[in-house]
Symmetry: C2
Subunit: 192 residues, 2 copies
């Protein structure tokens, strides 16, 4: 049994903030295939696709919560002034940095609180085909969780979901992001 821990991921993660300063650049195929192994394992573990989607999102959240620190350190990006700037940073800096692709930012809602990231290609789904009995699987759900978790750490509550997915026959992959609220800075008890 694992030791109890508030998150699922950080059980193996050092509390030390010794981020590597070198930038390791490499090809995505090993990552893509490893992600495939993770999804496959979850499909064995959980009853239905909805549970798998939820689990991937949750894992992604825990990853995002950690990844943001690395992102801020590497990118030297400062506080965004509005949601449009946030959208640009996500698309042009974050996606480029961690997935090697730059989605376009589009389909803004009139109120400016909602937009889409359109990915011409999604590295996570290279080589992937969904079997017929997994028609409800949102294969790349991890990404939604990563975005949600990372933004929460910079005081933004967002809703993130896949609106289109090439794996389901759509011509592009569309991640829809909706701003919910700014989170008050409220450090958990015991933290400094």
């Amino acid at each position: 049994m694992l030791v109890s821990c508030c998150y699922e991921i950080p059980i193996f993660l050092s509390k030390k903030k010794n981020f590597k300063t070198y930038i390791a650049l490499f090809n995505s195929e090993l990552f893509t295939l490893t992600y495939g192994a993770l999804v496959t394992q979850l499909c064995k573990d959980y009853e239905n696709d909805e549970e798998v989607n939820k689990q991937l999102d949750k894992m992604g959240y825990n990853i995002g919560v950690r990844l943001i620190e690395d992102f801020l350190a590497r990118s030297s990006v400062g506080r965004c002034h509005d949601f449009r700037e946030t959208a640009d940073v996500i698309a042009k800096v974050a996606f480029k940095m961690y997935l090697g692709v730059t989605p376009s930012v589009t389909n803004w809602s009139p109120a400016g609180d909602e937009f889409s990231l359109i990915l011409e290609s999604n590295p996570l789904v290279d080589f992937v085909e969904l079997p017929d009995n997994h028609s409800n699987l949102v294969y790349s759900s991890l990404l939604c969780g990563v975005l949600r978790g990372a933004l929460e750490m910079v005081q933004m509550a967002v809703d993130v979901r896949f609106a289109q997915d090439t794996l389901r026959g759509d011509s592009v992959t569309e991640i829809r992001m909706k701003f919910i609220k700014r989170i008050e800075e409220n450090l958990p008890a015991g933290d400094e």
Copy 2:
């Protein structure tokens, strides 16, 4: 339930060999954290560390079996003439390409059938600390499987194991590789 399939991974993998020709380069942190999520999930699923190690190795094998094709296409590496050449290609081309690091090749056995890859840093274990109750976990076992699977596809049976691991307090990570035999080319029935 998943559809039956000879491998564990390829259930989500297209049979189409439409490898992307672009080279996506990106940072390893998202991969590292996703790998952490996979290991954590397996620790929940299996009774003991030995089973998790075995499972990671098996997943790695299935990944290696796929990755080799991508590797050969990208690297333009031809058939290696001996195990020493193979060792160099693994260290200088494959590790560099997929993990962004170049291990040194060392500790050759007198017979030339065994060597070590010494990794000064292992991207898979950035941010990672093993809890005390996982002292038998070989966290990066996936890599052993990847190497074994990939080499099997080029007709080399090898034994791969971690001899040292920074996660267990060793000063470097050492992967020990032993040549077992050359596999006769024997296409499965039905394949061309």
